[in-house]
Symmetry: C2
Subunit: 205 residues, 2 copies
DNA sequence: TGTACATCAGTGAACGCGCGTTCACTGATGTAC
DNA sequence: TGTACATCAGTGAACGCGCGTTCACTGATGTAC
């Protein structure tokens, strides 16, 4: 697979991979095109055979992240079926699991400052990911009495916000935030209380 | 107040202020010591009369942010008294209000990568801010039946996470996240549902 | 199987840039007498 | 009120650095015959 020599073989993906590990290690600020090239065993100039520049490389890393993310969310959703509740809870867990397992991708997607509207492909795949969570919220809404049912898009926004907040504040070496609870426990319990508030779980579940 | 001439008058604070507006405009990455100095009408070297360097300047901006933040939270908490519920809800709203009103400070505090443990002063003031929310959560917990009462620190973590998530995802020019709801509405409703889940608000509030 | 040639991925040197930081200096201010 | 002097905030030139990007090039690969 790895043919060494003048030609690299699959430099494009190697660059994305080294960019990801660099982002993971040094944060979005610490990422440099030159260092990514160096790690891939190649001159900085070689990057321009495969990408338009620094931003384009980050955007591709983010795109691949969204692809994985959307797949994981979809898988979780499917696995929870046919229970709307199980599917919803599974997507919440999948969000955190993704952030934990693919930190480089997560940072490239949410903290690197690249806009999701940068390219149509990026917009499409991020919409796909969001769509899964919104679908799960819509399914769930049907089990709430219409008169006290919040819009599904609001429910999905709530869960997304809490998931993202847990990741940013507690799943990283955060601002002195040494919580006694694991991010997983925090998110699980937080979503549980929220769902109870929607009347979807028995008061003393 | 502003005496022009060789000596600036209050360069230290002027540098913090220009750093804050720069951070607000260009994000944590876009901040440079040189540009902050330029905006304050001064040579980059002058910065070293007041700060140890770039990091130290950001840290001071963050420190001032935590100070304001803690004060706002405390004020909101006091204002909600003697109702534990009102005080708790008020602190949640204060979180978002702070992020909206002082975006430069918010970014310096939570997105610039500076650690809260950088200096004792920074650690102390951030602990003070967190303390207010935790106090509010503790007060609130007393109104929950002991057998179904989650730890107060968990409740405060949930609210902090949701607040932070709402700010990051919906209160900025975020990743294509044009929600039909205002950040204020989202947080208000999210916290409302959560509190219902804790049994603190009537099912059909 | 062998040769000629087109393709193109990667090289390496060079660029201009703005960065953070240092240094010896100088000009303004304030105080002692 | 006036002079001498200490203090110190800000200057401006210089530094080394690594960055992203460009360019003409060259070496490896693959294809046609």
């Amino acid at each position: 697979m790895t043919k060494r020599g003048y030609h690299h073989g699959n430099l494009r993906q190697a660059l994305v991979d080294s960019a990801l590990s660099l982002i993971e290690q040094r944060g979005p600020t610490g990422f440099t095109l030159s260092e990514a090239a160096k790690r891939a065993g190649v001159t900085p100039a070689a990057v321009y055979r495969h990408f338009e520049g620094r931003e384009d490389l980050i955007a591709e890393a983010a795109r691949q992240g969204y692809e994985i993310f959307a797949d994981l969310m979809q898988y979780a959703y499917d696995k929870g079926q046919p229970s709307a509740l199980a599917a919803f809870e599974a997507t919440g867990r999948a969000y955190l699991a993704f952030a934990r397992k693919y930190p480089g991708h997560y940072i490239a997607m949410f903290e690197s400052g690249i806009s999701v509207n940068r390219t149509p492909e990026l917009a499409a795949v991020s919409a796909r990911a969001r769509g899964v969570l919104e679908r799960a919220a819509t399914d769930l809404s049907r089990h709430i009495a219409p008169d006290r049912r919040p819009p599904a898009s609001m429910v999905s926004a709530h869960i997304w916000a809490m998931s993202h907040g847990v990741v940013e504040l507690f799943a990283r070496n955060s601002p002195g935030t040494a919580s006694p609870f694991s991010p997983e426990d925090l998110l699980e319990s937080g979503i549980g209380i929220y769902l109870r508030g929607l009347g979807l779980i028995a008061p003393d579940g």
